[in-house]
Symmetry: C3
Subunit: 377 residues, 3 copies
């Protein structure tokens, strides 16, 4: 007896149990449910599988290396600096070819500054004075250029003057620049070498054509159709593609984002870089106070007597920020199963909703309720 | 006949089929299931929809541009360097206003180094010698300052000396600094201009007030309530908000993280920057050997004879690392459906668990099993 | 009556309703479904819970700070530069110890350049000329070194010459380098200090041993088993672990990625850094034109008369890019529930598939259909 019981148990283990359904011959709810089913299958096939490629395992941990190199030369002529030749070693800051780089398009040099005493710039609010008492000796001028000596320098007794300071003299005379000095910066070219790896799939690629023709990379220019693997861009073209003229930003400076997107479908072997350009410092077309980009840097010298003097450069220019992102996908049975199950779970939600309609919203609901719930009374 | 069969088939296609349930008049399991349902609905509404905003499509691929500018000036007086004025062009490294920047708070200058022969620093273990044989000519001193000349320089024959090296002489005399030299670095201000874009929604914003009042950004200071769009911070305030005194890190240096978070709900038009500050080089409050941040940089000069000499600066200071992250969300019907279905899937798990209780854990389980599984015997 | 009705309603609220199943005594489908169930439970336990740790809440927003410091010294001897000593302050660019750093292994100096007139380099295609008309005065030489003066410099009337330019003269004589000059760069060591924080869990850690033994970090070398918390690496070891010899990249330069991975299981208190090294500028082992890494930088001087002159350095070297990524996980009841429900949803998909087999693919399907769908006729 026990044996046959166990045997029965054992066999019933392999009996397939399937939910019992009752058929509600209600066309409205039936059509509603079928429509919902159609929608879900459409969603699974169209959205999850075709658009989102839910059958693929993806790797978003892209490893990327960016190297940049600029070419072009410009000559400027100013009263302060004389005739000056600017090569990439001068106008690219920092010069080491990073993914974030600044290209000088305008500058103002204050040469031969020495440590000493002179009047603070009248533009510094905290340096204004009417009296020596306003310039407390040793006090630093807030947002200014040095420490107060204790003297107030005025034209005459009734006017407002500025404190004398100890600092690098003469003080920089900043004026709003009128026009860019590196006039042909627009024609400089930037070579962007990007190398990516998707470690999960052991896949790596570069955005540069693997060629043995040495002269190709000297002469080519990027073109989406003709030269997609020649990553050399004219600066003027970059700003144009970002929706701006180079002239909009060469006087006061600006900031441009260069996005390189790698959206790789390794099943198809389809993995190409796409370039997007966007201006990063302006919203819409309203120019505001906060637009522009400049900073100061210095070159230090020593004279024969060992005294230090320096040239202070206020440089305006365009900052390029190269950002690489991407993902790679390849078929995976686990991803397929999860995507499928996730979609099918939606069917349950639809059945739940149709049940509510059937049992509570239509006239014969009470009858269906009794049939659906066996033993409810 | 075939027609009527097909017609039957066709109509039965639109019959709605709904699962048949049996009602188990067992209050314990019933209450258990209702509680579970309540929990799931609470979870869906409270967690998924209100807290996690599951009805929104999100964009986490934030594009960000950070520009920084420091203001403030300091004067130092040391025997090696004399009276020196430090402006942002000197104490910010690199000077180009990047998102990662270093502010000098302390330094040690070794001026007028020339290439030549001198004794290696006694601090370099590998440079110690008792004999000329310890200083093999041409060998580089590991972690030292130059190449050995072959001579061992000792006070007398019995003492331990250091090898003579060819290098930049005199060798830097490093001592543990006692106090910071840029004493008012705490009062320097940093202006952080951050511009973000969410490409999926075409939404962009800046953390700087769009004002026509030129003087606003000269005078304002950040204040969460009063001036949330004035991104100008005193360095001392930043370290204070990170939980440290500026004096904890101005002598030996340190590292501060400035996080800007944009958590944008575009449905409500609610998109504001929030600032978080954290010290990045210390855990808890235990100071260890590894704390501090310093590096060396040089300035090269040439004398009238064309010979090179240089100033070596060992600078200590605070590194600021500005990190921007964020996400934007906006209503999407697909996201709503997925979140809903995911939540409802939980109901199935609850029913599965209650079934187990009903069929196997309570006394009348056998009876329910027979009713639930039709035709099991 | 109404009271008893309501009471009935109220009690039926707590009746547990469970789906009615019909038992199909079909062993094939039964075994199929059981196998599927086994697969799903295996998937949930093995993949979701053990491999993916689905019971944990994770924090992927790792906050990281990287500081680097190099040690080592090298002496070079060239006709242009003479005997030169290179310390970290010279060969690390930029010197401030960032996560992206460049180590000079080879260089070519063009000393004493002055602004003036000289012949363009014959390597610049755009500077070639047969006639003064080819050198339009004031025109910039594309990818060249200056602006044309209007003269064509030729050996004799029939040969091709180069335009005279106004630029920094003499022009750099670039030749393909034959061998590296900083021969012992391989033995330089890099100290990588990484500090991470997982803000969600308030957990922070460093990759440096917290020791009071000052000499430990002077002498130790990284070793996965013996010294996992001594983050000091020989450059040669780094390239070797990336699968390349240092000699493969010291002449022309290269790019190495150093990945630090923190995969933390905070439940077990298991949180250690792991280091991975990969070459970022080469795919497979084919060397192409695009390999190598070099850039130019300058040092400016002024002579007694105030005239500027400069040294132009073309430096070749290895760029190290330190990338930190990681995640931390800790037990969370919500994550457990979601993972469980997601896995169980798969069961529904399996039942759906088995139903199709039972009802439409096996012989007795019609009979099962009638039993499953009550009232279908």
């Amino acid at each position: 007896m026990a044996g046959s019981f166990c045997k029965g148990r054992f066999f019933s283990l392999f009996d397939y149990k399937t939910e019992k359904y009752i058929v509600a011959k209600n066309k409205k709810v039936g059509v509603l449910y079928r429509l919902f089913q159609l929608f879900v299958f459409g969603y699974i096939i169209g959205w999850v599988f075709i658009s989102k490629k839910g059958y693929q395992e993806t790797d978003e941990a892209i490893q990327s290396s960016v190297i940049t190199k600029l070419k072009g030369v410009s000559i400027t002529n100013t009263t302060e600096s004389g005739l000056l030749v600017w090569g990439p070693e001068d106008y690219v800051i920092p010069p080491q070819g990073e993914a974030v780089l600044f290209v000088v398009t305008n500058f103002f040099e204050t040469p031969n500054q020495k440590l000493g005493y002179c009047a603070e710039s009248p533009k510094v609010l905290d340096g204004h004075c009417r009296d020596d008492k306003d310039c407390k000796k040793g006090k630093m001028v807030v947002a200014g250029h040095g420490g107060m000596s204790g003297r107030c320098l005025r034209k005459d007794e009734n006017s407002t003057g500025t404190c004398e300071i100890y600092g690098w003299c003469p003080i920089e005379k900043t004026n709003r620049p009128q026009r860019p000095l590196l006039t042909n910066a627009e024609n400089f070219t930037i070579y962007i070498k990007n190398f990516i790896k998707f470690p999960k799939f052991g896949f790596s690629k570069s955005n540069v054509l693997q060629t043995t023709d040495e002269s190709y990379l000297r002469k080519c220019r990027y073109n989406e159709e003709l030269h997609p693997y020649c990553p050399i861009f004219r600066l003027g073209d970059i700003t144009r593609r970002a929706g701006f003229k180079f002239q909009d930003m060469d006087t006061f400076g600006g900031s441009i984002g260069i996005m390189i997107e790698w959206d790789c479908d390794l099943d198809k072997g389809d993995c190409h870089p796409r370039y997007y350009f966007t201006r990063l410092d302006i919203s819409g077309c309203n120019k505001t106070l906060t637009t522009g980009f400049n900073f100061r840097h210095t070159r230090y010298f020593k004279n024969a007597a060992g005294e230090s003097y320096r040239s202070l450069f206020k440089v305006y220019g365009v900052r390029f920020n190269i950002m690489v992102y991407g993902k790679a996908g390849a078929f995976s049975i686990v991803s397929t199963a999860i995507s499928l199950a996730g979609g099918l779970a939606l069917l349950g939600a639809g059945a739940f909703f149709c049940d509510l309609v059937l049992l509570y919203l239509i006239k014969k609901g009470e009858a269906y309720r009794e049939r659906k719930f066996e033993g409810s009374r």
